[in-house]
Symmetry: C2
Subunit: 122 residues, 2 copies
């Protein structure tokens, strides 16, 4: 995600016709599963409960034809987990969509940035 401190960044949720969606939270969870090899650890890094992380993975796995995450061992204490080839494809497509969106929106975003007040009050 475009995320330099002096630039605007985008949070994009892609809402599919069936009402399911892919957004920054699911993308981040997939990335952290890649890095940690564990659903529980990935969720923990995001301040998410074990239950919530598993629910999100379950949602992702049902949303798409092929599962995006496979539990390699499983078990209540959390076994290893792998992001599948389908998962890597979805993640890459999501990132491509965000990057393209950011580039395409640069001019109108810059227009808004110029109109911001100098002293933000939030």
């Amino acid at each position: 995600m475009t995320d330099t401190p002096d630039k605007a960044r985008l949070r994009v949720r892609i809402v599919f016709p069936a009402g399911t969606w892919m957004g920054p939270g699911k993308a981040e969870l997939l990335e952290r599963i890649i890095h940690t090899g564990s659903i529980a650890a990935a969720g923990r890094e995001m301040g998410m409960s074990y239950k919530r992380a598993w629910e999100l993975v379950d949602t992702l796995n049902r949303m798409f034809r092929d599962p995006l995450v496979e539990s390699t061992r499983g078990g209540a204490k959390g076994g290893g987990a792998t992001v599948t080839e389908a998962g890597l494809r979805v993640l890459a497509a999501y990132r491509r969509a965000i990057d393209a969106a950011y580039l395409a929106g640069e001019e109108p975003i810059a227009e808004m940035v110029e109109m911001l007040s100098d002293i933000p009050e939030e």
Copy 2:
């Protein structure tokens, strides 16, 4: 917003460097203020409390150098409200950013759509 039933649509939040943001809720509120001429009525159409609608308008007015919404009469029962020229500009820029984002992301979004399961379970 691109919102046909058979296509994916985008919900985009533009997060500015100061941490303030412009997103679909604020854009919709501005649009409804244009149509209704009233902050209270616009909020009501969105299932939002009177207080919440006013808070959002206040946030928008502080975020940008020039106010985006002006209360033409005011008063506790909700007077008339107008979206200013600055408000119209911000709204137009936001819509341009979303449309550009959608077009730019069409290919990766289509890739994700093709990977969706046929029977969504949500």
